[in-house]
Protein backbone atom coordinates (compact mmCIF):
# COMPACT_ATOMS: atom_id res chain seq x y z
CA UNK A 1 0.00 0.00 0.00
CA UNK A 2 2.82 2.32 0.97
CA UNK A 3 4.63 1.44 -2.26
CA UNK A 4 1.54 2.15 -4.39
CA UNK A 5 1.15 5.53 -2.72
CA UNK A 6 4.82 6.29 -3.40
CA UNK A 7 4.44 5.33 -7.06
CA UNK A 8 1.36 7.50 -7.38
CA UNK A 9 3.16 10.48 -5.91
CA UNK A 10 6.12 10.07 -8.27
CA UNK A 11 3.84 9.54 -11.29
CA UNK A 12 1.98 12.73 -10.45
CA UNK A 13 5.16 14.80 -10.32
CA UNK A 14 5.00 15.78 -14.02
CA UNK A 15 1.46 17.04 -13.44
CA UNK A 16 2.81 19.17 -10.60
CA UNK A 17 5.28 20.76 -13.03
CA UNK A 18 2.44 21.59 -15.39
CA UNK A 19 0.32 23.37 -12.78
CA UNK A 20 0.01 26.99 -13.99
CA UNK A 21 1.71 28.66 -10.95
CA UNK A 22 4.58 26.15 -10.96
CA UNK A 23 4.99 26.38 -14.71
CA UNK A 24 4.88 30.19 -14.55
CA UNK A 25 7.59 30.18 -11.86
CA UNK A 26 9.89 27.97 -13.95
CA UNK A 27 9.16 29.84 -17.17
CA UNK A 28 9.82 33.24 -15.62
CA UNK A 29 13.59 33.10 -16.01
CA UNK A 30 15.90 31.29 -18.37
CA UNK A 31 18.09 29.68 -15.67
CA UNK A 32 14.95 28.19 -14.11
CA UNK A 33 13.57 26.98 -17.44
CA UNK A 34 16.73 25.66 -19.06
CA UNK A 35 18.75 24.48 -16.05
CA UNK A 36 16.73 23.98 -12.86
CA UNK A 37 13.59 22.49 -14.40
CA UNK A 38 15.33 19.92 -16.65
CA UNK A 39 17.60 18.84 -13.80
CA UNK A 40 14.64 18.37 -11.46
CA UNK A 41 12.66 16.50 -14.12
CA UNK A 42 15.56 14.16 -14.82
CA UNK A 43 16.02 13.62 -11.09
CA UNK A 44 12.33 12.88 -10.48
CA UNK A 45 12.27 10.63 -13.54
CA UNK A 46 15.26 8.80 -12.07
CA UNK A 47 13.35 8.45 -8.79
CA UNK A 48 10.28 7.10 -10.59
CA UNK A 49 12.12 4.11 -12.02
CA UNK A 50 13.07 2.90 -8.55
CA UNK A 51 9.37 2.55 -7.72
CA UNK A 52 8.51 0.54 -10.84
CA UNK A 53 8.74 -3.26 -10.97
CA UNK A 54 10.70 -3.32 -14.23
CA UNK A 55 13.46 -5.71 -15.26
CA UNK A 56 15.53 -3.94 -17.89
CA UNK A 57 17.64 -5.99 -20.27
CA UNK A 58 21.29 -5.11 -20.81
CA UNK A 59 20.85 -5.56 -24.58
CA UNK A 60 18.40 -2.64 -24.62
CA UNK A 61 20.67 -0.35 -22.61
CA UNK A 62 22.46 1.39 -25.53
CA UNK A 63 19.16 2.07 -27.34
CA UNK A 64 17.50 3.41 -24.20
CA UNK A 65 20.45 5.64 -23.30
CA UNK A 66 20.64 6.97 -26.86
CA UNK A 67 16.92 7.69 -26.82
CA UNK A 68 17.19 9.53 -23.50
CA UNK A 69 20.18 11.50 -24.81
CA UNK A 70 18.34 12.49 -27.98
CA UNK A 71 15.38 13.68 -25.91
CA UNK A 72 17.65 15.80 -23.72
CA UNK A 73 19.53 17.12 -26.77
CA UNK A 74 16.28 18.14 -28.45
CA UNK A 75 15.26 20.25 -25.46
CA UNK A 76 18.69 21.87 -25.27
CA UNK A 77 18.09 23.57 -28.62
CA UNK A 78 17.00 27.21 -28.12
CA UNK A 79 14.32 26.82 -30.80
CA UNK A 80 12.76 23.99 -28.80
CA UNK A 81 12.72 26.14 -25.66
CA UNK A 82 10.88 28.84 -27.66
CA UNK A 83 8.35 26.22 -28.62
CA UNK A 84 7.57 25.45 -24.97
CA UNK A 85 6.83 29.13 -24.42
CA UNK A 86 4.46 29.33 -27.36
CA UNK A 87 2.46 26.10 -27.17
CA UNK A 88 1.27 24.62 -23.86
CA UNK A 89 1.21 21.19 -25.54
CA UNK A 90 4.92 21.52 -26.36
CA UNK A 91 5.56 22.47 -22.76
CA UNK A 92 3.70 19.35 -21.59
CA UNK A 93 5.80 17.28 -23.99
CA UNK A 94 8.93 18.94 -22.60
CA UNK A 95 8.01 17.98 -19.04
CA UNK A 96 6.93 14.43 -19.88
CA UNK A 97 9.84 13.64 -22.18
CA UNK A 98 12.50 14.86 -19.75
CA UNK A 99 10.79 12.91 -16.99
CA UNK A 100 10.84 9.84 -19.23
CA UNK A 101 14.49 10.48 -20.12
CA UNK A 102 15.34 10.49 -16.41
CA UNK A 103 13.58 7.14 -15.98
CA UNK A 104 15.30 5.62 -19.00
CA UNK A 105 18.71 6.74 -17.76
CA UNK A 106 18.01 5.39 -14.29
CA UNK A 107 16.96 1.99 -15.61
CA UNK A 108 19.51 1.48 -18.36
CA UNK A 109 22.57 3.62 -17.68
CA UNK A 110 23.84 1.30 -14.91
CA UNK A 111 23.61 -1.62 -17.35
CA UNK A 112 26.18 -0.10 -19.71
CA UNK A 113 29.77 -1.32 -19.40
CA UNK A 114 31.90 0.73 -16.97
CA UNK A 115 34.03 2.30 -19.70
CA UNK A 116 30.95 3.36 -21.68
CA UNK A 117 29.40 4.86 -18.55
CA UNK A 118 32.54 6.86 -17.80
CA UNK A 119 32.98 8.09 -21.38
CA UNK A 120 29.29 9.03 -21.55
CA UNK A 121 29.39 10.89 -18.23
CA UNK A 122 32.60 12.77 -19.05
CA UNK A 123 31.35 13.67 -22.52
CA UNK A 124 27.94 14.80 -21.24
CA UNK A 125 29.40 17.00 -18.53
CA UNK A 126 31.84 18.52 -21.04
CA UNK A 127 28.96 19.26 -23.39
CA UNK A 128 27.06 20.96 -20.58
CA UNK A 129 30.09 23.18 -19.92
CA UNK A 130 30.43 23.93 -23.65
CA UNK A 131 26.75 24.84 -23.93
CA UNK A 132 27.06 26.99 -20.81
CA UNK A 133 30.03 28.88 -22.26
CA UNK A 134 28.10 29.44 -25.48
CA UNK A 135 25.15 30.89 -23.56
CA UNK A 136 27.43 32.93 -21.30
CA UNK A 137 29.44 34.60 -24.06
CA UNK A 138 26.95 34.82 -26.95
CA UNK A 139 26.15 38.47 -27.61
CA UNK A 140 22.99 37.74 -29.60
CA UNK A 141 19.76 36.45 -28.14
CA UNK A 142 19.25 32.69 -28.54
CA UNK A 143 15.86 32.12 -26.86
CA UNK A 144 13.35 34.73 -27.89
CA UNK A 145 11.40 34.50 -24.65
CA UNK A 146 14.25 35.68 -22.43
CA UNK A 147 16.69 38.57 -22.15
CA UNK A 148 20.41 38.55 -22.86
CA UNK A 149 21.17 38.93 -19.12
CA UNK A 150 19.01 35.89 -18.45
CA UNK A 151 20.88 33.98 -21.14
CA UNK A 152 24.27 34.84 -19.63
CA UNK A 153 23.02 33.84 -16.15
CA UNK A 154 21.78 30.56 -17.54
CA UNK A 155 25.14 30.00 -19.21
CA UNK A 156 27.12 30.42 -16.01
CA UNK A 157 24.71 28.14 -14.17
CA UNK A 158 25.22 25.46 -16.83
CA UNK A 159 28.99 25.88 -16.55
CA UNK A 160 28.77 25.37 -12.76
CA UNK A 161 26.58 22.27 -13.15
CA UNK A 162 28.86 20.84 -15.86
CA UNK A 163 32.07 21.42 -13.91
CA UNK A 164 30.51 19.91 -10.78
CA UNK A 165 29.34 16.85 -12.74
CA UNK A 166 32.76 16.51 -14.40
CA UNK A 167 34.56 16.59 -11.04
CA UNK A 168 32.08 14.09 -9.62
CA UNK A 169 32.77 11.69 -12.51
CA UNK A 170 36.52 12.13 -12.10
CA UNK A 171 36.24 11.44 -8.36
CA UNK A 172 34.21 8.27 -8.84
CA UNK A 173 36.56 7.16 -11.61
CA UNK A 174 39.57 7.66 -9.35
CA UNK A 175 37.88 5.75 -6.56
CA UNK A 176 37.05 2.92 -8.95
CA UNK A 177 40.63 2.79 -10.27
CA UNK A 178 41.98 2.78 -6.71
CA UNK A 179 40.14 -0.46 -5.97
CA UNK A 180 42.03 -3.75 -6.41
CA UNK A 181 41.50 -5.10 -9.95
CA UNK A 182 39.67 -8.23 -8.78
CA UNK A 183 37.02 -6.26 -6.89
CA UNK A 184 36.12 -3.89 -9.75
Amino acid sequence: MKNIFRRLIVCLLPVFFLLPPVDAAFSATMPAKTVAQPLLLLLFGWMLSSTLPLHPRASSAPSAVIMATLLILFWMIPRSIDLTQIYPSANALYVLSLFAAGSLLSLYFPLLPGVARTVYALHSSSMIVALGLLYAFQSTLLCSAYTLEDQHGSGWMLVSVGVFAYLLVLASMTRWLAQPAESR
Binding site: I66, F74, I77
Partner: protein, 214 residues
Protein backbone atom coordinates in the same frame (compact mmCIF):
# COMPACT_ATOMS: atom_id res chain seq x y z
CA UNK B 1 23.93 -0.82 -9.24
CA UNK B 2 23.36 -4.49 -8.24
CA UNK B 3 24.59 -6.95 -10.83
CA UNK B 4 21.48 -9.18 -10.56
CA UNK B 5 19.60 -6.69 -12.74
CA UNK B 6 21.80 -7.67 -15.64
CA UNK B 7 20.63 -10.48 -17.81
CA UNK B 8 22.67 -12.64 -20.14
CA UNK B 9 22.81 -11.28 -23.68
CA UNK B 10 22.82 -13.77 -26.56
CA UNK B 11 24.15 -12.94 -30.05
CA UNK B 12 20.64 -12.70 -31.54
CA UNK B 13 19.45 -10.32 -28.87
CA UNK B 14 22.66 -8.33 -29.18
CA UNK B 15 22.11 -8.01 -32.93
CA UNK B 16 18.53 -6.90 -32.45
CA UNK B 17 19.70 -4.42 -29.80
CA UNK B 18 22.25 -2.98 -32.22
CA UNK B 19 19.62 -2.67 -34.96
CA UNK B 20 17.17 -0.85 -32.65
CA UNK B 21 20.03 1.33 -31.49
CA UNK B 22 20.83 2.32 -35.09
CA UNK B 23 17.17 2.95 -35.88
CA UNK B 24 16.79 5.25 -32.86
CA UNK B 25 20.03 7.03 -33.70
CA UNK B 26 19.00 7.44 -37.34
CA UNK B 27 15.45 8.53 -36.57
CA UNK B 28 16.42 10.86 -33.75
CA UNK B 29 19.36 12.28 -35.69
CA UNK B 30 17.11 12.82 -38.71
CA UNK B 31 14.57 14.64 -36.58
CA UNK B 32 17.25 16.88 -35.09
CA UNK B 33 18.63 17.49 -38.60
CA UNK B 34 15.22 18.64 -39.83
CA UNK B 35 14.52 20.67 -36.72
CA UNK B 36 17.79 22.60 -36.97
CA UNK B 37 17.74 23.08 -40.75
CA UNK B 38 20.63 20.69 -41.30
CA UNK B 39 22.34 21.46 -37.97
CA UNK B 40 22.74 25.08 -39.11
CA UNK B 41 19.90 26.90 -37.33
CA UNK B 42 19.40 26.38 -33.62
CA UNK B 43 17.31 29.46 -32.84
CA UNK B 44 13.85 30.44 -34.05
CA UNK B 45 15.41 33.46 -35.77
CA UNK B 46 18.08 31.55 -37.68
CA UNK B 47 15.59 28.84 -38.64
CA UNK B 48 13.18 31.37 -40.15
CA UNK B 49 16.08 32.99 -41.98
CA UNK B 50 17.43 29.69 -43.26
CA UNK B 51 13.99 28.58 -44.41
CA UNK B 52 13.56 31.77 -46.49
CA UNK B 53 16.50 30.78 -48.70
CA UNK B 54 20.15 31.64 -49.34
CA UNK B 55 21.44 35.10 -50.22
CA UNK B 56 21.33 36.90 -52.52
CA UNK B 57 17.65 36.43 -53.27
CA UNK B 58 14.86 38.61 -54.58
CA UNK B 59 13.14 40.61 -51.86
CA UNK B 60 9.47 39.66 -51.58
CA UNK B 61 7.05 42.12 -53.06
CA UNK B 62 5.37 44.02 -50.27
CA UNK B 63 2.90 46.83 -49.98
CA UNK B 64 3.02 49.03 -46.93
CA UNK B 65 1.30 52.08 -45.50
CA UNK B 66 3.82 54.72 -44.47
CA UNK B 67 3.74 57.29 -41.67
CA UNK B 68 1.74 59.68 -43.86
CA UNK B 69 -0.94 57.07 -44.53
CA UNK B 70 0.17 56.57 -48.15
CA UNK B 71 0.20 53.06 -49.55
CA UNK B 72 3.49 52.25 -51.25
CA UNK B 73 5.35 49.27 -52.64
CA UNK B 74 8.86 48.10 -51.91
CA UNK B 75 9.49 48.04 -55.67
CA UNK B 76 9.01 51.82 -55.72
CA UNK B 77 12.29 52.13 -53.79
CA UNK B 78 14.33 50.42 -56.53
CA UNK B 79 17.46 52.34 -57.43
CA UNK B 80 18.40 52.92 -53.79
CA UNK B 81 19.68 50.60 -51.12
CA UNK B 82 17.09 49.77 -48.48
CA UNK B 83 17.74 48.61 -44.94
CA UNK B 84 14.56 46.90 -43.76
CA UNK B 85 14.00 45.89 -40.16
CA UNK B 86 10.95 45.16 -38.04
CA UNK B 87 9.97 46.78 -34.79
CA UNK B 88 6.94 47.87 -32.79
CA UNK B 89 6.34 51.18 -31.11
CA UNK B 90 5.52 49.98 -27.60
CA UNK B 91 8.56 47.70 -27.36
CA UNK B 92 10.71 48.34 -24.29
CA UNK B 93 13.37 45.84 -25.20
CA UNK B 94 15.48 45.64 -28.36
CA UNK B 95 13.44 47.87 -30.75
CA UNK B 96 14.32 51.26 -29.20
CA UNK B 97 18.00 50.25 -29.17
CA UNK B 98 17.98 49.21 -32.83
CA UNK B 99 16.07 52.31 -33.91
CA UNK B 100 18.49 54.54 -31.98
CA UNK B 101 21.51 52.78 -33.48
CA UNK B 102 20.08 53.12 -36.98
CA UNK B 103 19.32 56.79 -36.31
CA UNK B 104 22.91 57.33 -35.19
CA UNK B 105 24.23 55.48 -38.24
CA UNK B 106 21.97 57.35 -40.66
CA UNK B 107 22.71 60.78 -39.24
CA UNK B 108 26.47 60.07 -39.33
CA UNK B 109 26.43 59.16 -43.02
CA UNK B 110 27.69 61.81 -45.47
CA UNK B 111 24.83 63.38 -47.43
CA UNK B 112 25.88 61.60 -50.64
CA UNK B 113 25.75 58.15 -49.04
CA UNK B 114 22.53 58.98 -47.22
CA UNK B 115 20.86 59.86 -50.51
CA UNK B 116 21.56 56.28 -51.69
CA UNK B 117 19.97 54.67 -48.65
CA UNK B 118 16.42 54.24 -47.38
CA UNK B 119 15.67 52.85 -43.95
CA UNK B 120 12.37 51.01 -43.85
CA UNK B 121 11.15 50.33 -40.31
CA UNK B 122 8.27 47.91 -40.65
CA UNK B 123 5.95 47.60 -37.67
CA UNK B 124 4.81 44.15 -36.58
CA UNK B 125 2.04 45.71 -34.50
CA UNK B 126 -0.44 47.19 -36.99
CA UNK B 127 -3.12 47.59 -34.32
CA UNK B 128 -1.22 49.96 -32.03
CA UNK B 129 1.20 51.41 -34.58
CA UNK B 130 -1.26 53.51 -36.55
CA UNK B 131 -0.08 56.00 -39.18
CA UNK B 132 -0.38 58.81 -36.59
CA UNK B 133 1.74 56.90 -34.09
CA UNK B 134 4.30 56.08 -36.79
CA UNK B 135 4.43 59.75 -37.76
CA UNK B 136 5.21 60.67 -34.14
CA UNK B 137 7.96 58.04 -34.02
CA UNK B 138 9.36 59.25 -37.34
CA UNK B 139 9.57 62.80 -35.95
CA UNK B 140 11.23 61.48 -32.80
CA UNK B 141 14.02 59.82 -34.76
CA UNK B 142 14.74 62.97 -36.75
CA UNK B 143 12.15 63.10 -39.56
CA UNK B 144 14.68 62.01 -42.19
CA UNK B 145 13.40 62.10 -45.75
CA UNK B 146 14.91 58.67 -46.45
CA UNK B 147 13.47 56.95 -43.38
CA UNK B 148 10.10 55.29 -43.75
CA UNK B 149 8.09 54.03 -40.83
CA UNK B 150 5.35 51.75 -42.04
CA UNK B 151 3.10 48.82 -41.47
CA UNK B 152 2.33 46.11 -44.04
CA UNK B 153 -0.76 46.91 -46.09
CA UNK B 154 -3.69 44.46 -46.13
CA UNK B 155 -3.26 41.05 -44.48
CA UNK B 156 0.12 40.25 -45.93
CA UNK B 157 2.04 40.36 -42.64
CA UNK B 158 2.52 36.59 -42.25
CA UNK B 159 3.58 36.10 -45.85
CA UNK B 160 5.99 39.05 -45.78
CA UNK B 161 7.63 37.87 -42.57
CA UNK B 162 7.93 34.29 -43.84
CA UNK B 163 9.39 35.33 -47.18
CA UNK B 164 11.93 37.68 -45.62
CA UNK B 165 12.84 35.09 -42.97
CA UNK B 166 11.69 37.10 -39.97
CA UNK B 167 10.38 35.24 -36.95
CA UNK B 168 7.48 36.97 -35.18
CA UNK B 169 5.40 35.76 -32.28
CA UNK B 170 2.80 37.89 -30.48
CA UNK B 171 2.56 36.95 -26.82
CA UNK B 172 -0.63 37.15 -24.78
CA UNK B 173 0.84 39.90 -22.55
CA UNK B 174 0.97 42.30 -25.52
CA UNK B 175 4.70 42.00 -26.18
CA UNK B 176 5.90 40.71 -29.53
CA UNK B 177 8.97 38.53 -29.90
CA UNK B 178 10.62 39.04 -33.27
CA UNK B 179 13.89 38.81 -35.15
CA UNK B 180 16.08 41.88 -34.76
CA UNK B 181 17.92 41.34 -38.06
CA UNK B 182 18.23 44.15 -40.59
CA UNK B 183 18.01 43.21 -44.28
CA UNK B 184 19.99 45.08 -46.89
CA UNK B 185 18.15 45.23 -50.23
CA UNK B 186 20.25 46.41 -53.17
CA UNK B 187 19.04 48.84 -55.88
CA UNK B 188 17.94 45.87 -58.01
CA UNK B 189 15.59 44.61 -55.31
CA UNK B 190 17.69 41.69 -54.04
CA UNK B 191 18.40 40.94 -50.41
CA UNK B 192 22.18 40.88 -50.36
CA UNK B 193 23.05 40.95 -46.69
CA UNK B 194 21.48 40.30 -43.30
CA UNK B 195 22.88 42.18 -40.33
CA UNK B 196 22.37 40.71 -36.86
CA UNK B 197 22.66 43.15 -33.97
CA UNK B 198 25.29 42.34 -31.36
CA UNK B 199 25.03 43.57 -27.78
CA UNK B 200 27.37 46.35 -26.66
CA UNK B 201 28.75 47.01 -30.14
CA UNK B 202 26.96 50.31 -30.72
CA UNK B 203 26.45 50.59 -34.51
CA UNK B 204 29.43 48.43 -35.44
CA UNK B 205 27.25 45.41 -36.23
CA UNK B 206 26.03 47.22 -39.34
CA UNK B 207 28.16 50.30 -40.02
CA UNK B 208 31.34 48.83 -41.53
CA UNK B 209 29.70 46.41 -43.93
CA UNK B 210 26.89 48.75 -44.93
CA UNK B 211 29.29 51.50 -45.94
CA UNK B 212 30.98 49.06 -48.37
CA UNK B 213 27.73 48.82 -50.31
CA UNK B 214 27.04 52.55 -50.52
Amino acid sequence: MPSDRRTAVGPARRGLGALICLLILGGGGGLLYQWTFGFSAFTSYSYALGKAGPLPRAAPEISFVDQFGDERRLASLRGRHVVLHVFYGTCLNICPIIVEELRQLYSDLPAEQRSKLVILSLSVDPVRDTAERLLDLWREVGAFEGWIMAQPADDSMDRVMREFGIWVFAKTDGTINHSADAFLIDPDGRIVRVFSPQANTNTEWIRGDLEKYL
